[in-house]
């Protein structure tokens, strides 16, 4: 197992060592995949975007100033790659706002014999996917991936306060839209 720290591998990769970069990919690919998948919820899109993120990182190694950790820098590239994709997809679908139709397309007590929890989980997934991209990214990173506000802020390139505010707004939106499915009278 390669014991060299990331910073050494980065230096070697900058000097043209493809093997050093491959080791960096091996170390961080799982996390990159999870971050992107948590935002896209699609295996095929995640595969494409993970490739793009590693390619972008490789081609931008010269601009990495070593002030932050390599992993933080790489995860930020991954988040930005996924965010760009979400924005583009939102434009292509003609929506960037939270869509009511996602919620109104069925009732919580549907004829199918699915459990209430499974139904709610599916509704939540749809509703989170319909959040504006930056709200969605904050929610995915913190609520799904378990990152702290500080870590999410580093990846998103904003302040912790902004992350906190986006999460608050995201939760308010989700709660308002999912209220019919939350089992309260």
């Amino acid at each position: 197992m390669d014991e060299r720290p990331d910073e050494v591998l980065v230096q070697e990769a900058r000097q043209g060592s493809r093997e050093a970069f491959a080791e960096l990919v091996r170390r961080h690919r799982q996390k990159v995949y999870r971050i992107i998948h948590s935002m896209t919820r699609d295996a095929s899109d995640t595969d494409d975007l993970a490739q793009e993120a590693f390619l972008a990182a490789y081609r931008s190694l010269e601009s990495f100033n070593m002030k932050a950790r390599f992993s933080t820098w790489l995860y930020r590239i991954s988040v930005n790659t996924a965010l760009s994709f979400l924005k583009k997809r939102g434009r292509e679908k003609g929506r960037a706002e939270f869509r009511d139709d996602l919620i109104d397309s069925g009732s919580p007590d549907s004829p199918e014999e699915r459990s209430v929890r499974h139904e709610l989980s599916a509704r939540i997934e749809e509703a989170v996917g319909a959040l504006p991209p930056h709200f969605q990214a904050s929610f995915r990173l913190v609520a799904d991936q378990g990152l702290s506000h500080a870590e999410a802020a580093q990846m998103l390139g904003c302040s912790e306060n902004t992350v906190s505010w986006r999460l608050h707004k995201a939760r308010k939106l989700l709660r308002a839209r999912l209220e019919p499915f939350l089992g309260r009278s």
Partner: protein, 201 residues
């Protein structure tokens, strides 16, 4: 504490980001606010539902293929950056649009604006007023047109008599003859006060 603030803190608390000092205040608010307790309950349900999805990991055997494809792409030369040509294209588009706006504005000012024909008839392009006056000294025709233009401008700016109002009563001799001595003295004193002329007592 207001419910808006409490709900922001509820969100932070779910992420483990609420300082202990605020947590105590939040719990105090929740103890007395049924709406905010219900809000917290809903957010916990949403959080549980969001976490109950299957893991995000790829299928077994995925990574070797991922690595091979990435290696192939790393080995191929980077495609030319799209940013510069696109920006350049947009710059030309903006420049073209700006030119059209300038041309449209020039057409409007030069030909369509009311009074533009008169201006355009004698104002040489790019001349200042000083150069026009100098030119008029040697050109009687231009000087005449300039005079007419200035006179027309003065007339345009001068408020003319309102034609709806009958001729001033002061022009009517019968008006003055019908006034009493007292009224005449009053008018005289008002005129003196207004114009600061005349003999004051």
């Amino acid at each position: 504490m207001r419910c808006d603030k409490a709900r922001r803190w509820v969100s932070d608390d779910l992420d483990g980001a609420l300082p202990a000092s605020r947590k105590a205040r939040l719990e105090g608010h929740l103890a007395g606010c049924a709406d905010c307790r219900a809000y917290l309950g809903d957010l916990e349900l949403i959080a549980d539902g969001a976490r109950s999805r299957p893991a995000d990991d790829p299928p077994p055997g995925y990574w070797p293929d991922f690595g091979r494809r990435l290696e192939r792409r790393l080995a191929s030369p980077a495609p030319p950056a799209r940013t510069a040509p696109r920006l350049g294209h947009r710059r030309w588009a903006w420049a073209g649009a700006a030119s059209l706006v300038v041309v449209a504005a020039a057409i409007y000012i030069g030909f369509l604006r009311p009074g533009a024909e008169q201006d355009a008839a004698w104002f040489p392009n790019g001349s200042s007023l000083a150069s026009i006056l100098l030119e008029a000294e040697d050109d009687p025709d231009l000087a005449g047109r300039l005079d007419r233009m200035v006179s027309a401008s003065i007339e345009e700016l001068t408020v003319g008599p309102d034609e709806d109002i009958p001729a001033p009563f002061a022009d009517d001799p019968l008006f003055w003859e019908g006034l009493s001595e007292e009224e005449l003295r009053f008018i005289a004193s008002e005129l003196e006060a207004e114009t600061d002329r005349g003999v004051r007592p």
